[in-house]
């Protein structure tokens, strides 16, 4: 771990235009149980829920930042770090997890040049949903996600471009084997007009994603 405090180095999203937050709050303010809706719309619009946006919502409503953070950190789909350009989700539903050959994850990590994730320990199976692993150039976010309901392809991963509209341009790739992983990733990235990340110098601790202030903002 680096010596810096987490909060001081946390990406604040100061460069974001928070004007839309006001509109979103206005839309849901008077609805019962609107907090979750507000946060979901913020996530949909910006791709992540930045501390600045949370503060803005708290300023405009009676919900405290603590309460809002409680909600954001409870649900797996919320993200409190900025998105990259591409997103690779490895499905961790039972059909995928139990079908997966050893080495597939390591191969994906190698190709995408992210920090090593071990699938040996069950603690790692689900713990990285919030922040994800990011490739060295900050371009790709690699996450393990719960069942995506495409079990006919198991074991699979899905590739999408970060455009916040989620469903429409998602490329599902499966069944994957360690040998075919690199080609499959390359083909999937090519469909979005992207190339694989260039090989970086070294790996970083997953916690550092949290520390990096400039992710996806270049």
């Amino acid at each position: 771990m680096s010596g810096r405090g987490v909060l001081s180095a946390m990406p604040w999203g100061a460069e974001l235009d928070l004007g839309e937050v006001d509109n979103i709050v206005e839309r849901h303010k008077w609805r019962r149980g609107g907090a979750l809706e507000v946060l979901e719309d913020i996530q949909e619009h910006y791709g992540w829920v930045s501390p600045g946006a949370v503060q803005r919502v708290a300023d405009l409503t009676e919900w405290s930042p603590t309460y809002l953070y409680g909600v954001v950190t409870f649900y797996d789909e919320f993200r409190i770090a900025p998105p990259g350009t591409m997103r690779v989700d490895i499905c961790n539903g039972s059909a995928c997890a139990l079908n997966r050959e050893d080495g597939v994850l390591h191969e994906i990590e190698r190709v995408l040049d992210v920090n090593e994730v071990s699938d040996a320990s069950p603690y790692d199976l689900f713990t990285q949903n919030k922040f994800g692993y990011v490739s060295d150039d900050g371009k790709v976010i690699l996450r393990k996600v719960d069942c995506v309901g495409a079990c006919q392809l198991a074991p699979l991963f899905r590739v999408s471009k970060e455009e916040h509209d989620g469903h429409h341009d998602v490329e599902f790739v499966g069944p994957i084997t360690p040998q075919a992983t690199e080609e499959a990733l390359k083909a999937a990235f090519a469909r979005f007009g992207e190339t694989l990340p260039t090989a970086g110098s070294g790996s970083q601790a997953p916690g550092d994603v949290f520390m990096k202030g400039n992710l996806g903002t270049e």
């Binding site: 149980g33 979750l36 979901e40 409870f74 961790n92 039972s94 719960d146 309901g149 006919q152």
Partner: protein, 579 residues
């Protein structure tokens, strides 16, 4: 405001126009598995090719049929011939497909799956002759793959909303509805199997106002995807069920809590919008004196919010923490008001029960009435959705419904009930698949209908460790037995799988599992240790091989060298991740 009769006449007319066309119809299945397998590209290819050649062919849309392993599915209906189903039709196949199957005479072009007729047609088998289909009985899935899920008139033309009309017009007063539901024995399909008739009666008699109707489509457990497919394939069936419930309990507001399933949310929202446009929802439902409106709430990925009280907390806008239930939710649920919470599948059964009578439904199935939807997944080939009566032997799930193993290896086990179920050993495959008989063999939670089929490359310890990792991660952290107990069970299981198990670990698992099951406040913790119990009951030898012989019979678990034994220390002092 159109009356039901006008809507029905209009719908019949539109359906007649649709099926009496004198040109070939290409019906594309458009549900999530079809899209995943390139269905959008196939559709674009069809559109381009038809426009380029200037063909007189119409393209239509339908939902899922259950054959996910053959997606994307395409149905071709030519005038004077039975409907033929093809799959998988990839974009590259489209020009050849048009030449042969749509315009030419080579109907059987190698992609043909079945025909919707009693006799085989040009060498393509009839649907009823497929073993996969003949053991099924479809009530909810009857119209899947046949009607357009984004067109309310398709549903009305097939008898949709007639049950709602009967209820509102007084032909079936609320008391009769409750009576029929009680006769039918319909039980909640989310995994709890609580009788719906009794729940609705409680909702009807509850004195608080306003009342709420809540549908649970959260569906966050791994390997189950039936409810989202229901919304993708026939969302109006659910809207009808929810509206009938509203008419019975006199509610004016419904919520559908949908998990992070984008296409299901999209289709359901569209269906609600259409229902509002034609006057099925809104200020006057079908012109009668009932106001009812359905709002969609998106779940944002949390398994525990499938628990009824946690889901209510989530709809109220906070963290999905379950509550200690001093009162039932029909007395004090959402915002402490009377609330009827049911699973998507349960609501969707109601229209057919009211149309055909409770006794008809009660005559289906053994051990429990009616049919059940299952999503089948795992090492098998036939990955998809099926609907079968309760009480068919488990071996059907291992044979006809699962198909051959993809690897060609022998089958090892069938797991019912998702992450809280358990692996059923082959010598018990004659057990009828219903909650009662499965409880008797140690499968304590029958679950919501997730079936996982595994071949002999799977290790039972690995499977239950996987389930426990899921339950531990998704524990909300509110009550201690679940938060720490699941973690400790997981630590113990991992230790065994690393070859560092000691014989006392089996006692630890039994004892701690017992405490977690008995002391947790909601179903999450109460059911979390069930797979462990099932494994210890039926697969003890395999677990013991890990502990005593330090070997994994299936070769899955990575046994560490013995010098690492004894490194764990104070387990309870380890940080417990709570979110």
């Amino acid at each position: 405001m159109a009356s039901y009769q006008e809507l029905k006449a209009q719908a019949d007319q539109r359906w007649q126009d649709k099926i009496s066309q004198q040109r070939p119809r290409i019906i594309l299945a458009e549900s999530a598995p079809d899209y995943d397998m390139g269905g959008r590209r196939t559709k674009a290819a069809f559109q381009d090719e038809i426009a380029r050649r200037g063909l007189d062919v119409c393209i239509e849309r339908t939902g899922n049929f259950g054959m996910d392993w053959k997606a994307p599915l395409v149905t071709v209906v030519r005038p004077g011939a039975p409907a033929v189903w093809y799959g998988p039709v990839k974009a590259a196949d489209v020009p050849r497909f048009l030449d042969e199957a749509v315009l030419g005479n080579r109907v059987n072009n190698g992609l043909g799956l079945f025909v919707d007729a009693n006799e085989p047609y040009q060498g393509i088998p009839a649907l009823q002759s497929l073993p996969w289909f003949s053991v099924q009985r479809r009530i909810i899935m009857e119209l899947w793959g046949r009607i357009d899920p984004e067109d309310v008139f398709d549903y009305i033309a097939h008898g949709g909303y007639s049950a709602l009309f009967k209820v509102l017009s007084g032909e079936l007063p609320p008391e009769r509805v409750i009576e029929e539901l009680k006769t039918s024995g319909l039980a909640g399909r989310g995994g709890g199997y609580f009788p719906i008739g009794i729940k609705w009666e409680g909702g009807m008699k509850a004195r608080g106002r306003p009342k709420f109707v809540v549908c649970n489509t959260e569906e966050g457990e791994p390997s189950i995807y039936k409810d989202r497919r229901l919304l993708e394939s026939n969302p109006h069936m659910l809207i009808e069920g929810m509206t009938i419930c509203a008419a019975v309990i006199q509610s004016h507001k419904g919520y559908n809590y949908i998990g992070p399933h984008p296409l299901a949310v999209e289709r359901f929202n569209r269906a609600v919008q259409q229902a509002n446009e034609v006057g099925i929802l809104g200020k006057q439902v079908l012109g009668f004196d009932l106001e009812f409106d359905i709002e969609t709430r998106r779940g944002f990925g949390s398994y525990v919010s499938g628990e009824a009280s946690a889901m209510q907390a989530s709809i109220e806008g906070g963290r999905a923490l379950p509550r200690v239930k001093l009162q039932r939710s029909v007395e004090a649920g959402l915002w402490e008001k009377p609330t009827v919470v049911n699973n998507t599948e349960s609501f969707s059964f109601v229209p057919s029960i009211l149309n055909n009578g409770g006794a008809w439904f009660a005559g289906i199935g053994q051990g429990m009435t009616g049919t059940k939807m299952y999503s089948i997944t795992g090492h098998n080939e036939f990955v998809g959705l099926i609907e079968a009566p309760f009480g068919i032997p488990v071996k059907h799930f291992a044979n006809e419904l699962a198909g051959p193993m993809r690897s060609g290896r022998p089958l090892k086990t069938v797991i019912f009930g998702g992450p809280t179920g358990g692996p059923i050993p082959p010598h018990l495959f004659d057990t009828p698949a219903n909650p009662k008989d499965c409880n008797a063999i140690g499968l304590l939670a029958y679950g919501a209908g997730g079936v996982i089929v595994l071949d002999d490359s799977a290790c039972i310890l690995d499977v239950i460790k996987y389930f426990m990792a899921f339950m531990e991660n998704q524990s909300c952290g509110k009550c201690t037995p679940c938060r720490i107990g699941c973690h400790e069970l997981l630590v113990t299981l991992s230790r065994i799988s690393e070859g560092r198990g000691v014989p006392a670990d089996i006692l630890t698992l039994e004892d701690m599992g017992d405490q977690v099951a008995k002391l947790s406040i909601c179903g999450h913790g109460q059911a979390a240790p069930y797979p462990v119990f099932m494994a210890l009951q039926h697969w003890r030898e395999e677990i013991e091989a890990h502990i005593l012989d330090k070997r994994c019979p299936a070769g899955v678990c990575r046994m560490k060298p013995p010098e690492e034994v004894g490194q764990t220390g104070y387990l309870l002092m380890q940080p417990v991740r709570v979110h």
